[in-house]
């Protein structure tokens, strides 16, 4: 028991430190929506200034030195926010996160250059008596750390809750524009959070320095892994929960050290490595996954990502590029440059995996390099056990694909920054538990997997003795994978990935399985990463795994952003940035930079992001885009006549939806028959959208049934219901802004594609024309001239049409329209009403129409259901509902005296209904 308590105290002390670093990270995130990867490096700089420059070298007393060090942290943070983040305000969040990675690299490199790599011990300056209580030694210093951390937590909580600035900061993270309209400057708020957050990081660093000593990388590791894990438990928003998270991580570490042997015995393992580092993180991971949601809430705003490429392959460019590379390799390059070439190409392959996973599917995973290591380990072990390399490599890739699907599991319940940090932790756990365990690697004392010189199809290609040949192997792999990635972009599967990237809810509403897409993206990306890992690891006769660290994973995402995250071509520009790659070789050869390369490289990352946030490939491609667009625009679109849909009746009975104690919808029932338009009206907050959400599967009802004809669908997921023929539009449009209109419509009609297409699309993406139903939607909404445009280029009304056309594209039996006329003028509303009527009468669709535009509702609908406070208060024909006193009282209000003009009649063929006069 004594021992347990002793470890508990140790864990609380380190946990308090993690919590402090985490609070700084949480504050910055709350104020600017960014995870600051440079937090640890800034703290490190502050600590070195305090204890080396001031205290050691100049004899400055402790307190002034501490304050000065913290001031340095504040200054660096503010400078970074002003010079880098402000210009990148409109950039995608991932670009800004990568900028913080550049900050990490730059500050760390400066620290190394100025202070060297030698650790500096720091004397304790907090009171450090030891109290013995019940045989347990309690160190006063640890108590101080916990107390300071708790005080800081309380202060931050109170500040963000009870002060105007604090509240404004929290609000700014939710909606910057809204805060701006209230008179707050988002720039000033961001500056406050960055300054304060940086200062907290500096404070934490100077407090922890006596425990850890000063080293260039120590605090970076602490912050990146332990502190972010604590922030994750706090949801990057709650200071008290973050404090608890820090303690959990610290305690987990200490107790895992204490009980490591016991855990090994319990699990019948000769050794388990890394458990102390991974323990806390794994607890947090489980909590998050349990607490997460498979679909984002209605309020969720997907993070923007950099622009996407088209995936169109310039065959001539590929051939010329490959030829030039080969010519350089065998005509010009000596061994050093050949080595730099294959190092770059292997990195290029890694970048391609990130393009697929993050660029196309929008999943920010920082575990790709760990997966690369898994691929190297799998293939390496197979070779070590006698399998030919030609077989070991594809098998190693397949094994990694399976592991990648497992890595996808957190992505099913988390997203955005949470996913990034969770995958960072996963990658870290793999490197600590798997790559540090000799039992998994090999039986040599060298701590690696011995594979010997590599031969391929009888040809010696080992990089040590034949660097040029290995470079050719890497070139072939890179070109093939780049083509596969480009194929994916142009394919149905690629559209699914991009749909999920842009808007998971909208994707689900079209029958796209978000789970399936994420699993697929992780699996394919893992396979590509495995190739990258094998190309890297098989350069040597003994594979060492310490190089497969999380920080390299983060750097590679940075390379991908610089090259162009949404472009397969981006990998070409990203690849030379690799450590030991063509870029550093060239810089060294031209300028002899030596040890300055790291600093220059980190600075270049930041400057390149400032110059173009969409990446170098975007700049290169853009001037071709106009010509390509003109060429595509010349291809005529053959329009088709509408076909009738499969008729089906939607029956909703006893529908009840609860959110906690709030009953949002109570015992609602209605039917929508083929060819019928049913209006759903009611005041704001009545539950109309909730009903649509419940019918389409976005919200789980507490009671009630939903049938499509005789099939009960209320237990099915949203994707399944969409595929059965229930489609919807959204109030907030929720278009796929990264896809042109044509591809938005394709996404709407391709959900039923065969499963084999997930594979065949990688090799041969078939270009099918738009389905007849989609083409009919194009005709109906007059979108012919807009097919190649991005939704953002269209006026609002047209974007509404795209949203509806997309929902129609697969020819659903039941269509639910959520305020389709919102924001339209009178003429557009009338046009829309006419189209809706046509859908019902010409195509036999059953339509549920939620609208506040009463003339449109009364003139278009066959029947109307009126709800208030989640309950049906009236149902009937438009005339019946219009005259219902309950409806008048709840929603319509007192009717104005009728005008002398005749009521307008909407002529939509059959099923005409008189328009209600304006009131």
């Amino acid at each position: 028991m004594q021992s347990f308590l002793q470890f508990l105290i140790v864990g609380l002390g380190s946990g308090a430190v993690y919590a402090m670093f985490a609070q700084g990270a949480v504050l910055i995130y709350r104020g600017s929506g960014l995870v600051n990867f440079g937090q640890g490096a800034i703290g490190t700089l502050a600590a070195y200034v305090t204890f080396v420059d001031l205290q050691q070298d100049r004899g400055v007393p402790t307190v002034p030195a501490l304050l000065a060090g913290i001031a340095v942290a504040v200054a660096v943070s503010l400078l970074f926010q002003w010079l880098v983040l402000r210009p990148l305000r409109s950039a995608a969040p991932i670009v800004r996160v990568i900028a913080t990675v550049g900050l990490l690299g730059l500050v760390q490199a400066v620290v190394v250059q100025r202070y060297g790599a030698t650790t500096v011990s720091v004397d304790e300056y907090l009171p450090h008596d030891v109290w013995i209580v019940g045989g347990v030694a309690i160190q006063e210093q640890r108590v101080w750390l916990v107390a300071i951390s708790a005080l800081l937590t309380g202060a931050l909580w109170a500040w963000t809750r009870y002060t105007r600035t604090g509240l404004a900061i929290s609000a700014s993270a939710q909606n910057e524009r809204a805060v701006q309209t209230l008179g707050w400057s988002p720039n000033r708020l961001a500056a406050v959070t960055w300054g304060l957050g940086g200062g907290i990081g500096g404070l934490a660093a100077v407090l922890v320095a006596p425990l850890t000593g000063l080293s260039p990388v120590g605090l970076t590791i602490v912050v990146t892994i332990a502190a972010l894990a604590a922030a994750l438990l706090g949801g990057f928003s709650s200071f008290p929960l973050t404090f608890v998270g820090g303690l959990v991580v610290g305690l987990g570490e200490a107790l895992a050290t204490r009980y490591n042997s016991d855990i090994e015995r319990w699990l019948h393992q000769s050794q388990i490595t890394g458990l102390n580092r991974a323990a806390g993180f794994l607890v947090i991971l489980v909590v998050l996954v349990l607490r997460g949601r498979s679909l984002p809430l209605r309020s969720h705003v997907a993070d923007r990502l950099p622009r996407l490429g088209s995936g169109v392959v310039n065959a001539r460019g590929v051939l010329i590029g490959a030829a030039v590379t080969l010519a350089l390799l065998f005509g010009v390059f000596g061994d050093s440059w050949a080595q730099a070439t294959y190092v770059s190409l292997a990195t290029g392959v890694m970048v391609l995996s990130i393009v697929v996973l993050t660029g196309y599917a929008g999943q920010l995973s920082l575990a790709q390099w760990a997966l690369a290591g898994i691929g190297a380990l799998a293939a390496g072990q197979l070779v070590r056990h006698g399998l030919p390399v030609e077989l070991a490599i594809p098998l190693g890739v397949l094994i990694t694909v399976a592991v990648g699907a497992v890595f996808a599991l957190p992505a099913l319940r988390t997203r955005g920054v949470n996913l990034a940090v969770v995958t960072l932790g996963l990658g870290f756990t793999v490197s600590e538990v798997v790559f540090a365990n000799g039992d998994y690697l090999g039986d040599g004392l060298d701590g690696g997997t011995r594979i010997g010189p590599v031969t391929l199809f009888g040809l010696e290609v080992d990089a040590v003795n034949h660097p040029h040949r290995w470079a050719v192997v890497c070139l072939v792999a890179f070109v093939v994978i780049a083509l596969v990635v480009a194929n994916l972009r142009r394919s149905r599967t690629g559209r699914r990935l991009i749909a999920v990237r842009t808007n998971e809810r909208a994707a689900t509403s079209l029958g796209i399985s978000v789970v399936g897409v994420k699993l697929y993206a992780f699996a394919v990306a893992a396979g590509i990463a495995a190739v990258g890992g094998i190309l890297t690891a098989f350069q040597f006769s003994v594979i060492k795994y310490d190089r497969f660290d999380v920080f390299t994973s983060v750097s590679q995402v940075g390379f991908a952003v610089i090259g162009g995250l949404g472009y397969a071509l981006g990998a070409v520009f990203a690849a030379p940035n690799a450590v030991g790659g063509l870029g550093s070789e060239a810089l060294d050869a031209l300028f002899g930079l030596g040890g300055w390369i790291t600093i220059i490289g980190a600075a270049l990352v930041i400057l390149m992001l400032l110059a173009n946030q969409h990446g170098i490939a975007d700049v290169v491609v853009r001037h071709h885009r106009g010509r390509a667009a003109a060429r595509r625009a010349e291809t005529p679109v053959e329009l088709a006549e509408a076909e009738r849909v499969a008729p089906a009746t939607l029956r909703v009975a006893g529908l009840t939806v609860r959110f906690g104690a709030v009953v949002a919808v109570a015992d609602v029932g209605f039917e929508v028959h083929p060819g019928e338009i049913v209006g759903l009206i009611g005041p704001n907050g009545a539950g109309k959208t909730t009903i649509i959400d419940a019918v389409t599967g976005f919200v789980k009802p507490s009671a009630g049934t939903i049938h499509l004809d005789d099939a009960a669908v209320h237990r099915l997921g949203a994707t399944r219901r969409a595929r059965l023929g229930i489609r919807r539009s959204f109030q907030s449009l929720e278009l796929f802004d990264d896809l042109p209109v044509e591809d938005n419509l394709r996404a709407g009609s391709e959900a039923g594609a065969s499963r084999i297409s997930w594979l065949t699309d990688l090799i041969w993406p078939v270009s099918r024309p738009l389905s007849p139903t989609a083409l009919a939607a194009v005709r109906g909404f007059e979108l012919e001239e807009h097919l190649r445009k991005l939704p953002g280029e269209l006026p609002y009304g047209r974007r509404r049409h795209v949203g509806i056309a997309r929902a129609l594209a697969s020819g659903p039996s039941i269509l639910l329209l959520d305020e389709p006329a919102a924001g339209l003028d009178e003429a557009e509303s009338r046009e829309l009403a006419s189209l809706i009527r046509e859908l019902a009468t010409e195509r036999g669709m059953g339509i549920l129409l939620v609208e506040h535009d009463m003339p449109m509702v009364m003139s278009t609908c066959d029947r109307i259901v009126c709800i208030e406070f989640g309950k049906v208060i009236a149902t009937g024909t438009p005339d019946q509902v219009r005259g219902d006193p309950a409806v008048v009282a709840a929603y319509l209000g007192t009717a104005e005296p009728e005008s002398e003009s005749e009521p307008e009649v909407v002529d939509a063929g059959e099923g005409r209904a008189p328009a209600m006069s304006e009131s």
């Binding site: 140790v10 030698t118 650790t119 050794q271 600093i599």
Partner: protein
């Protein structure tokens, strides 16, 4: 936007300027000049080398300055030694030239350096530090380059072109046990870097432990980025150990010892002196009084009565003017650089034809040399060893046992040397070198 980019560039340049000045800049040193160190007179002084004769081009691959490890001082030490020995006649009148190569602590960087040496006109290498040993070893072996001194790893041991001084990092791992066992500590915890290589170590230590009647109570891994080191000391105590052998990075070593001090831990410690300088040792706190160090070479600031030639070492370093070669900053790695150059002079100067400045001649000279006089820094040395077992190729298996008094700043070196090969084989009784 353009203004911001320019401002960002200005900021980066400011940071670069800050990086340019080190915290201990020689130019800023306003202290009194160091006293000239007295030389031993042991080293022959034949006047400056003859620059008209063919030059012995010597390579040295090591990470100069990275976030994790920095061996720039070893390069400086090699350059200082070469300058000094050149002034004393070089290698039989031939000048020596150093071609250092920065590996950046990266396996590709190491391979690049190895290829550079293999393809260039370097005739030998000294004091290499590599982690990608297998491929570097094979490249340099194929090229027929003699590798003198250095930190041999597992893959290096037993190769015929490697002439290490001491057992390197691998040898250091095992030699931390005997000092504890000899003082009656039979229960020993291993606090080690959390890497796969060290997990095999307890099994390999069995013969040694049995010979001393000792046991490993627990292997305690130390992960990178650790915050609180007390957990490792507590884990060691918890396991029933009375002593702990530290196989850790210098950064972690200091913190473990300070944690032990904070806990008033009675644990005795043993670790390699490694690349710890006087300045580093002062950071270990008072717990250093409970530490026995093992070292392949004497402490550089050790007794000049016992090792008079240390005066020449320090004088050569002082003459270079490099701050990292000041007495308080030098370490065993720097000394090994100097000793590697001494080895070149001693072996090649007495070789069959010193005027044959070729790889083959250098390799042959080292392969056949016997009882090389290293002026007492290590026992009389026969560079090539071909014995059996993991350390059969370690030609200099002798280790010093060192303690340090933080109050006086003085080292005490035991008269009894430890023999790596014998200890590893489980033979605790062996004759001391003459």
């Amino acid at each position: 936007m353009k203004r911001r980019v320019l401002a960002a560039v200005a900021c980066v340049l400011t940071l670069l300027a800050a990086a340019c000045s080190t915290s201990k800049d020689d130019a800023d040193d306003g202290g009194t000049p160091a006293q000239a160190v007295q030389r031993s007179g042991l080293l022959a002084d034949n006047g400056a080398c003859d620059s008209s004769k063919p030059v012995y081009k010597i390579g040295m691959m090591t990470p100069f300055q990275t976030a994790a490890i920095a061996h720039r001082s070893q390069v400086d030490a090699a350059e200082a030694a070469i300058t000094a020995f050149n002034s004393r006649g070089g290698i039989a009148g031939h000048c020596i030239d150093l071609e250092p190569c920065d590996t950046h602590f990266d396996p590709n960087g190491e391979l690049d350096c190895a290829r550079q040496f293999a393809d260039g006109d370097v005739v030998a290498t000294i004091n290499d530090t590599t982690q990608n040993s297998a491929d570097v070893t094979s490249t340099l072996q194929t090229a027929g380059l003699a590798r003198v001194g250095g930190f041999p790893n597992v893959a290096d041991i037993g190769v015929k072109n490697l002439f290490p001084i001491g057992g390197g990092s691998t040898g250091n791992v095992f030699m931390v046990i005997p000092p504890l066992a000899q003082t009656g500590v039979s229960k020993i915890a291993l606090i080690a870097i959390d890497t796969p290589a060290f997990q095999r170590v307890p099994d390999l230590m069995k013969p040694m432990l049995e010979a001393h009647g000792a046991e490993i109570t627990k292997l305690i891994p130390v992960a990178a980025g650790t915050t609180d080191y007390q957990q490792f000391v507590l884990a060691a105590t918890d396991s029933g150990a009375k002593g702990a052998a530290l196989i850790t990075q210098p950064a972690d070593t200091a913190q473990v010892l300070r944690a032990a001090q904070q806990l008033s831990s009675p644990l005795k410690f043993s670790l390699s002196l490694g690349t710890s300088s006087l300045t580093d040792l002062k950071q270990f706190g008072t717990a250093v009084k409970n530490v026995t160090f093992v070292s392949e070479v004497p402490p550089v600031t050790g007794s000049r009565e016992r090792w008079p030639v240390l005066g020449d070492v320090l004088a050569d370093f002082q003459a270079s003017g490099e701050s990292d070669l000041r007495p308080e900053n030098v370490d065993a790695g720097d000394l090994k650089s100097w000793m590697s150059v001494l080895a070149l002079v001693q072996v090649l100067g007495k070789a069959g034809d010193p005027d044959d400045v070729s790889r083959k001649a250098v390799l042959d000279a080292f392969s056949t040399a016997k009882n090389v006089d290293m002026h007492g820094l290590i026992p009389s040395w026969t560079p090539l060893a071909t014995g059996p077992g993991l350390f059969g190729g370690v030609s200099d298996p002798w280790y010093y046992q060192v303690t340090f008094d933080p109050d006086s700043g003085q080292f005490t070196v035991s008269d009894k040397l430890l023999n790596l090969v014998s200890e590893f084989a489980g033979e605790a009784d062996y004759a001391q070198p003459s």
